[in-house]
């Protein structure tokens, strides 16, 4: 399954993202934001867990995420300067990688399901299971990115460096899940992993649905623009907007217009 997904993701559509500096810039910004959010959550988690060994791992993990955020951000700014890109506030990822916000409010990020303060809502075991599944996916995702950036050694080097950390993250979370299994919490671990994987799949399904509908809607509107809107466009160009001070024309009301 993973191989199939990897192949699917390695399609020309994704390659194109890394060959377009503007799309690459946006995607790197989005990755940076995601890593920083993850780091914040992990720092909080590190303070909450009772096991000192797990705390140590989470603290290192949090530092890794912040380091990744800085690496992505720095590379994004290098690209922005190199190609004189116009940056603006809402740096959403390029569509093929818009894993975070199919629609604002889904509260799923690029790893799939972090949200600020997640540890406060889940227990240690559920949190680590969620983290494990997320890191497995992140490792897979960054392997794909690395393979798509051969033409850009600086960006590729970042993915390679991050991959080393991701493998460690997968390994230590697995160690703790195994430890809990051996302590007789096999069922809890299985359920937590299942919940984590289901929520990721559900999120992916929702995003796919939204994106498909979005793509179709946009195509329809584009066609609409060059057919039905065209005459109205010419008419609208003849009308000059009001300039200077004008007297308010609408009476006070609490309706939508």
């Amino acid at each position: 399954m993973a191989t199939f997904l990897t192949k699917l993701r390695s399609s020309g559509r994704l390659k194109a993202v890394w060959h377009d500096p503007d799309r690459a810039y946006k995607t790197l910004c989005s990755f940076s934001e995601t890593e920083r959010d993850g780091g914040k959550d992990l720092e909080r988690a590190a303070r909450r867990v009772s096991d000192p060994e797990l705390r140590g791992h989470l603290e290192r993990h949090a530092r890794d995420e912040v380091k990744h955020a800085d690496l992505f951000r720095t590379r994004a700014l290098e690209l922005a300067n190199e190609f004189a890109l116009t940056t603006h506030g809402d740096e959403t990822a390029d569509k093929p990688y818009d894993l975070s916000r199919g629609r604002p409010g889904l509260e799923l990020d690029a790893h799939g399901f972090f949200s600020a303060g997640l540890i406060d809502e889940l227990g240690d075991l559920e949190y680590i299971a969620m983290l494990h599944v997320a890191e497995e996916r992140a490792a897979e995702l960054f392997t794909v990115q690395s393979s798509l950036t051969d033409h850009d050694p600086k960006t590729k080097a970042i993915f390679e460096e991050i991959l080393i950390d991701e493998k460690y993250h997968v390994a230590y979370t697995k160690t703790f899940l195994d430890k809990w299994r051996h302590e007789g919490r096999e069922r809890e671990v299985s359920n937590a992993l299942k919940t984590a994987r289901d929520s990721r799949l559900l999120g992916a399904w929702k995003r796919l649905g939204l994106r498909s509908a979005g793509g179709f809607g946009r195509v329809l509107l584009f066609v609409f623009y060059w057919t039905l809107v065209l005459p109205f466009g010419f008419i609208a160009r003849l009308r000059k907007p009001a300039t200077g001070l004008v007297t308010p024309s609408v009476e006070l009301n609490d309706g939508q217009h």
Binding site: L77, A80, Y225, V229, P241, G244, L245, G255
Partner: protein, 564 residues
């Protein structure tokens, strides 16, 4: 009557709850999500407001959104059509967004809050801004000026406030927007539009306005006295919010500054500083003309100012010193987050006819700190905290202080503070560096007891309200060499007057510093990390403290110290 005001989907979404005309809770979404400028539907902020007041959504009498979606859609559609065929790229994305989501705001609110649709109301965006200023002011009558970037059609509103009513007198309509015009120049100069306009203002202080004629070609007077128009050939914000300026502006002024590039001292930076100074000067010209016109319609001595552009401190100073009004009031948050409160007040006073029952004396509205002791906390008594803070400041330490609920907006006036001694070398820059790495031009302010202000600064009359919420910069008196070191390139210091009545603890800190032979003045800024919103909870504060180079953190009655 319980009224919930909501602002969302532009920037800085927020919620505010009014009970019988008095705001009891207000919260901003970014403080919960940790994402600076969060604009999504403020469900966590709403939940926080309702929880704090002990109210269920079904108990709300009215939910008021801060703009009218149908009228805004009409404007967006008209602008997209008017820009045909240049809007080919943006039409489908903006229409998709509006037809798929924004237009159905009423349904969204019903879905989120599970309230019947007859309880949902919409008020005009500029009137929400105007209400946020006038209905929180201490004035019984005043002229009102809201200068913003966008809303439905109106971008600027001239109005009269009298008792319980706001009367709209004149408007300026999109695309003629001072806010977007200024943001476009911010973007041209490499800053982030909608976020870093303050940096453009700071850059302006370092230049001379040598490009006035060229900048006036982009914004000129027109029609009735005070009216203005933005010349569309230089801008793209009419139909595209991602890049606000066009090739026309580059042809007029030369190449744009690369985004994020450092500001050094070279010929290119001189050009940028001079251009910024020219933009600031032209903005002030236009706003002074608007104020003169407003004063002709409303010959009051008092002005209530609001909208995103009102955050420009140099502009506020010019309005007071060169404009026709003797007293100026600005709410703590004159921009988008404050408009959530404004929407609720506009409905309560103007539409429901409820009497005014509120004057904003402190910035925070309700709000308790989400507090739970973290590792390493040391308990203190409330009484000893000011003395302890003053002692640490006297030793040259950088201290964070967290008290009560967080305020609306991106600044904190008392609840989330970072403090340092003001007479230290590079006090302001050093303070910023402890938490945010230094951003070139990033401003920092000083806290001064209101009663001592005239001992140290030239204070014009009629600005006490503006100074309480740090909307002004003042010139130090002759001979105040230590204060001159804190001044920006224009010789002025950003000042917040601390009133003994409203913040006795901070006043005590400052007076203790003065009593020990130092200045009763502290360098002060807001407690957040770079690129992050203000810290909200005790956990957030401890986390930010650990990632900073601050020496100590005081949270309510607890102290956290940096481990060696």
């Amino acid at each position: 009557m319980r009224i919930l005001g909501i602002s969302a989907f532009h920037r800085d979404s927020a919620a505010a709850l009014l009970v019988d005309g008095v705001p009891v809770a207000a919260a901003q979404e970014e403080h919960f999500t940790g994402k600076l400028g969060e604009w999504s539907f403020p469900r966590r902020a709403i939940r926080s407001c309702l929880d704090e007041a002990g109210v269920q959504a079904r108990d709300l009498d009215r939910i008021v959104f801060y703009e009218k979606p149908l009228r805004k859609f009409e404007r967006i559609l008209a602008m997209q059509l008017g820009a045909f065929p240049r809007s080919a790229k943006t039409f489908s994305s903006s229409m998709f967004l509006w037809l798929g989501d924004r237009l159905w705001m009423k349904n969204r609110i019903i879905e989120e809050l599970e309230v019947p649709d007859e309880r949902i109301s919409f008020v005009e965006h500029q009137r929400a801004h105007a209400a946020a200023s006038y209905f929180t002011s201490p004035f019984e009558e005043a002229a009102i000026l809201s200068i913003d970037d966008m809303g439905e059609w109106a971008t600027t509103l001239l109005a009269r406030g009298a008792g319980n009513e706001i009367e709209s007198l004149r408007e300026v309509h999109f695309p003629h927007s001072l806010g977007l015009w200024y943001s476009a120049f911010a973007q041209y100069l490499g800053f982030e539009p909608g976020a870093d306009e303050g940096l453009l203002e700071e850059l302006a202080k370092q230049g001379t306005p040598s490009s006035l004629d060229k900048v006036r070609q982009t914004l000129s007077a027109c029609g009735e006295e005070g009216g203005f128009q933005v010349h569309s050939e230089h801008f793209r914000f009419q139909h595209d919010a991602s890049r606000l300026y066009s090739q026309g502006l580059i042809d007029l002024l030369g190449p744009a500054r690369a985004p994020g590039s450092p500001i050094a001292e070279g010929p290119e930076d001189t050009r940028c500083c001079d251009l910024a100074a020219s933009v600031q000067a032209v903005l002030e010209e236009r706003v002074l003309a608007l104020a003169e016109e407003l004063h002709r319609h409303v010959p009051s001595s008092k002005l209530c100012l609001s909208g995103e552009v009102a955050r420009n401190r140099s502009l506020v100073r010019h309005l007071r010193t060169d404009g026709p009004f003797e007293q100026i009031y600005l709410p703590p948050s004159p921009g988008e987050p404050g408009a959530a409160l404004g929407a609720a007040l506009e409905y309560s006073c103007s539409i429901a006819g409820e009497p005014r029952a509120f004057t904003q004396e402190v910035a925070a509205i309700g709000g308790k700190l989400a507090a739970s002791p973290e590792d390493g906390a040391v308990s203190l008594s409330k009484a000893e905290i000011p003395t302890l803070i003053a002692a640490r400041l006297a030793k040259g330490e950088h201290v964070a202080w967290v008290r009560g609920g967080v305020e609306l907006g991106d600044r904190s006036w008392s609840a989330r503070l970072l403090l340092a001694r003001a007479d230290k070398e590079d006090a302001l820059g050093g303070l910023l560096e402890t938490v945010q790495n230094r951003v070139p031009c990033a401003p920092c302010r000083v806290a001064v007891p209101a009663a001592r202000l005239k001992d140290h600064f030239e204070v014009p009359d009629g600005v006490e309200h503006a100074l309480r919420f740090a909307h002004l910069e003042l010139k130090p008196l002759e001979g105040q060499a230590q204060l001159s070191k804190l001044a920006a390139a224009d010789g002025r210091v950003w000042v917040q007057a601390i009133d003994q009545r409203y913040d006795p603890q901070l006043c005590q800190v400052l007076e203790s510093m003065g009593a020990e032979g130092g200045l009763p003045i502290a360098a002060m800024t807001d407690f957040h990390l770079r690129g992050r919103p203000l810290v909200r909870s005790e956990a957030d504060a401890v986390e930010a403290f650990q990632r900073s180079r601050l020496d100590a953190l005081f949270v309510e009655e607890r102290l956290y110290e940096r481990k060696a």
